[in-house]
Symmetry: C2
């Protein structure tokens, strides 16, 4: 018996009356209902839900009485960020999901509502997106053993994977202030760089700017300081998932990261996707967690839950596309660079939550937990240029004939993701994209 049972909102045959929602390749069919924060022109941000080629203004829909919600739930929909709603817990989230599903279903039981809902829809194209969540703390994990091994091999050839990796879901604190969800340009950072032959470091623009392809898990309800979240309960504390690009300055990182970890190499910018796909929407895509080889140690008891092993993985493919300034001026097309499967991750989201809170650290609604760069055993299916080009030794060639060891000014990086599985309606995550500016 799954802790994440399917219901009417996962019926693959259900469709919406909203334009674009029935198209097979849409990211936003009726089964998805991902959250965002948006504005039109100079209005203040409002929360919405993606459906087809539109966004439903949830605040307006709740105010108009189109959603069957308790008063407190409707009030939580009136904020420009999701945090008040997230703090209400899974039962409230589920009532809102069902209410949205029924309102947007093509066979909606109350036609007057459908008519009223039309006035709450705005076209997705041209919207300005904002952070849908006030992120109090951002933690970045390192849950891909393939990524940890690939990177470790470059920096510590004698010991690519450290002895703690298979016991500890390694993570570190990131910077909350520089996270954005509006696809804003990323400024190439300056910093201290020191090449192996340099006698001293120099200060200047980053020469090894990279993306890191991740998913971000958002905490719904938190825990009190001094208490912890048992792994069996961890799933109920998670609200949703977003695309995450953990921009990285590899040359700054190599020089600064000892002994306290990455700092300026990461904190200049982190991009998340405009949409939060809920854990409820992802229920059909739960698969067994990565199976540890017999030779690996079993997780310590506080990190081990048979149910999590059985359904703690996700059938999600995450992709990176790239377009140079030259390509933008010519065809305008992006090159597909790589697609990685999330099922290879060594640690599950529930393990991250249980570990993070195991010492009494208080998680709060809106906290962001990055998965870490998603890589796989396939050298072509890895989540960073660092790994794809073997630290610049094997540059990739773009369709324009240009080559890339690391990112150049004018390059645009786009991340997308799809959850798909036999018997389920596939859903997507929208686009997380940004152009590099010098």
């Amino acid at each position: 018996m799954s802790r994440f049972p399917l219901d009417e909102t996962h019926d693959p045959a259900a469709t919406s009356w909203v334009v674009g929602a029935a198209e097979p390749d849409t990211d936003f069919p009726l089964q998805n209902l991902p959250f965002c924060a948006f504005s039109v022109g100079t209005e203040t941000p409002r929360i919405g839900v993606g459906i087809g080629r539109m966004v439903l203004d949830i605040t307006a829909a709740a105010e108009a009485g189109l959603l069957d919600l308790a008063e407190a739930e409707a009030a939580a929909c009136a904020h420009p960020v999701l945090n008040p709603l997230m703090a209400m817990g899974p039962a409230a989230w589920q009532r809102l999901r069902r209410a949205l599903f029924r309102l947007l279903h093509k066979d909606a039981p109350a036609p007057w509502r459908t008519e009223a809902a039309v006035s709450c829809l705005v076209p997705m194209a041209g919207l300005r997106f904002h952070l849908p969540v006030a992120i109090g703390d951002y933690t970045d994990f390192y849950a891909s053993i393939d990524h940890a091994t690939n990177v470790g091999r470059m920096f510590r050839p004698d010991q690519p994977l450290l002895p703690n990796y298979k016991y500890v879901p390694i993570g570190y604190h990131g910077r909350a202030s520089s996270i954005s969800a509006d696809n804003r340009p990323v400024h190439r950072p300056t910093g201290q760089r020191k090449r192996p032959d340099d006698a001293e470091p120099s200060f200047g623009p980053c020469r090894q700017l990279d993306w890191e392809l991740e998913l971000g898990f958002l905490i719904g309800t938190g825990n009190a300081q001094g208490e912890s979240i048992a792994i069996e309960q961890a799933g109920a504390h998670l609200f949703g998932v977003t695309l995450l690009n953990d921009w990285s300055a590899r040359d700054l990182q190599a020089w600064e990261y000892q002994p306290l970890g990455p700092f300026l190499a990461k904190n200049f910018a982190t991009s998340i996707g405009p949409f939060v796909v809920t854990m409820a929407a992802l229920a059909p895509f739960r698969i067994p967690a990565h199976v540890r080889p017999e030779s690996d140690p079993a997780p310590l008891p506080y990190l081990f839950d048979p149910a999590d092993q059985a359904e703690g993985g996700f059938a999600i493919d995450v992709s990176v596309e790239l377009r140079s300034a030259t390509m933008r001026a010519a065809s305008g097309q992006f090159d597909h660079i790589t697609t990685v499967g999330f099922q290879h991750m060594y640690w599950t989201a529930a393990q991250m939550v249980a570990h993070h809170s195991s010492n009494g650290c208080n998680l709060q609604p809106g906290d962001l937990l990055g998965s870490g760069t998603i890589s796989t055993p396939d050298p072509a299916a890895v989540g960073s240029l660092l790994e794809l080009t073997r630290r610049g030794q094997a540059p990739i060639t773009l369709s324009s004939g240009e080559t890339r060891s690391f990112l150049q000014d004018g390059d645009e990086v786009r991340m997308t993701a799809r959850a798909h599985r036999d018997g389920a309606r596939s859903i997507g995550f929208g686009r997380c994209e940004a152009v590099i500016v010098g």
Copy 2:
């Protein structure tokens, strides 16, 4: 010519009419005026300023028209945290400081104001304190070369001080959610511990719980993402300083910290003092920065400012006291454990700000920058038990006859600090204290 000139508010002869403010050893003479957030009973927090044995309710004083402030400044005083005031910048901070100074001066020019101010005073004893600032991001630096060397010697005997230390003001992101200013108890964290002879890690209560004696610098005005703060400007972005105890679980830290730095070993709790001593109050205590030995590299240009070298240090002594449960039940007295001088720090606060923002990372009002553990070349004047006891090899003996390698349940740690210098009225930071609970 100093960037931090003295004015009437630094006159060492000035005294206040408030009870206790004229006592020679008070932390809170008229020259200090440190900020706090407090509540009485179950009231919501309000911002205040420490004076003698009292706290002046700034919100009430501003509302009563007792402070010569512009309308926007008075409105900023009505919030339960200092952030709106901090965002207004040094000119507003200075107007508020002067207005408070004049109101509380024993020769205040307007007697009616003095009489009205009495009703805005509450006794400090018995107040509940709260975080005076909403801390968006917390960064912990590592600015004591003696601490870095002492710790490095234990973990990397072959290379105590890493090659980047003298070039990079090393720092890492900490956890904002678990910072408190109310002297609440600290729960002993649980986590993975692995002794050198253990074949595998085990999960259980921390066996090596430690304090870290630091000062915390609070950002007043920030910078836009993609821009940086020049070191010459950095001082104007700093609002104030607080005591900071960066509680550390040494056994968790030793096992988890590679390759991404400390995580659960630190994020279970960070205690700051209830009071923020402003940079304005600290102007008389500015001294030259630590002088680098000739053999050390010069700071890179973005970290070098002759004025900062001339007045970027602070004449502040910071102390730790300890009391066990046994001592509490007997005399009630604390043992003085150590006092360290802040003038030994290798990197200045201005260098931390310039470095932190050098890559375009956006600092925001209320961000907290920890100095890192304050140690000195004297093995008895170091900021952690780890260093004092040489990782437990040389336990300290308390006045009760008990010994300590690391902290036991029931132990209380108290941190205090005094700025003092010839010709200036000495000021203090209040007490940052907490008891360990199992």
